[in-house]
């Protein structure tokens, strides 16, 4: 599917097939969860990042069903570049109403970046002012897990992590996505 066709599809699904929820409710709920996890792990941000990623992973495993049902494309992406287009222009569009920019491909077409001009999870957010969160916490890390979990269910093992975040004072919010391998048909792994 071409990039412009993916855009139109994402727009169409967002308009007609998606139940909306108040954005502030989502922001407040997510922010509350992150704050609670920070408290639980006594501001060990490495651990907090890990927990957020894990929560996302478990969401992603289930969310892919909804994505497939709503997008109803009925066919596999023919290559990883097409997968990236569908993630950005359909996946992120229909669930978060944003379309991150796809950029910084490596020459082997296995690694790209998603650059978020807007990030609905991070509205009104300030990181803890403890001199460490700015360097250690990836506030939106749940998104990495969601992507990893969702792609795993469609036979792609990926590695995902943020490399910059405007909340930390960076100029952009950028997630790196790397295709590790296509998974052969095998039994799905257990939830953790």
């Amino acid at each position: 599917m071409s990039a412009s066709k993916a855009s139109r599809l994402g727009e169409e699904i967002w308009k007609t097939r998606i139940e909306k929820v108040n954005a502030e409710l989502v922001v407040l709920t997510y922010g509350t969860i992150v704050a609670q996890i920070c408290k639980d792990f006594e501001n060990d941000y490495t651990e907090v990042n890990k927990q957020l990623d894990k929560m996302g992973y478990n969401i992603g495993l289930r969310l892919i069903e909804d994505y497939l049902a709503k997008s109803n494309t009925m066919r596999r992406c023919s290559n990883f570049r097409e997968t990236a287009e569908m993630i950005a222009k359909v996946g992120f569009k229909i669930f978060l109403n944003v379309t991150p920019t796809i950029t910084n491909w490596t020459s082997d077409n296995k690694q790209f970046s998603l650059v978020f001009d807007e990030n609905p999870l991070a509205d009104f957010v300030e990181l803890p002012d403890d001199g460490r969160a700015q360097d250690e916490l990836w506030f939106s890390n749940i998104l990495c897990g969601v992507l990893r979990g969702a792609l795993e269910m469609v036979q792609m093992q990926v590695e995902t992590h943020f490399i910059s975040d405007v909340l930390r004072g960076n100029d952009t919010t950028e997630m790196r996505v790397t295709l590790v391998r296509y998974i052969d048909d095998e039994l799905p792994p257990e939830d953790d």
Binding site: V21, N22, E24, L25, V26, L28, T29, G31, T32, I33, A35, Q36, M55, N58, I59, R62, I142
Partner: protein, 162 residues
């Protein structure tokens, strides 16, 4: 929904073994309840700060409850409360005949479904209690469902000593 995002959730299976073991599971369950409720509380507080800012001052408790049933309920659950009752002595009972978080639940038997739905009411209870607190009303809030997808919330306001 958002509920699914709150981690693994409690062990809700049937209880085996001796009474000591049972105690642990009850405690664990209560801890999960308290945690979800506390998360909701903070969300409720935040929502009220954000959405009651530009409206006129509340006259009395009933005014606040009405704001909760209409404006806030619509914001969070996308419809208004269907029925509001009060004993005029600080207890308010809110009935939502089609409570959004329970709207797509089913199980083999209805009693099973209701038991499984109960944990999903903890977070909303917290939201309601947090919202009320932000509007100056201390209360205890409990909720139950006797038939899906309806939910009944009971608010008992606590008189502050003055």
């Amino acid at each position: 929904g958002l509920g699914a995002g709150l981690g693994g959730g409690p062990a809700m299976g049937s209880v085996n073994g001796g009474s000591g073991r049972k105690m642990d599971e009850d405690e664990e369950r209560d801890a999960v309840f308290a945690r979800l409720e506390a998360l909701g509380y903070r969300v409720g507080q935040g929502l009220v700060e954000r959405f009651s800012r530009d409206r006129p001052r509340f006259n009395d408790t009933l005014d606040v409850i009405k704001f909760l049933c209409k404006d806030l309920w619509t914001l969070v659950f996308r419809k208004q409360v269907d029925n509001l009752k009060t004993n005029h002595r600080g207890v308010y009972v809110l009935t939502d005949n089609s409570f959004r978080p329970l709207s797509r639940m089913s199980a083999e038997t209805s009693s099973q479904a209701i038991a499984r739905a109960q944990p999903f009411l903890w977070f909303p209870c917290g939201v309601v209690r947090g919202a009320l607190a932000a509007m100056g009303i201390n209360a205890t809030v409990t909720a139950e469902s006797s038939e899906l997808p309806a939910a009944v919330f009971q608010i008992k306001t606590i008189k502050t000593q003055s």
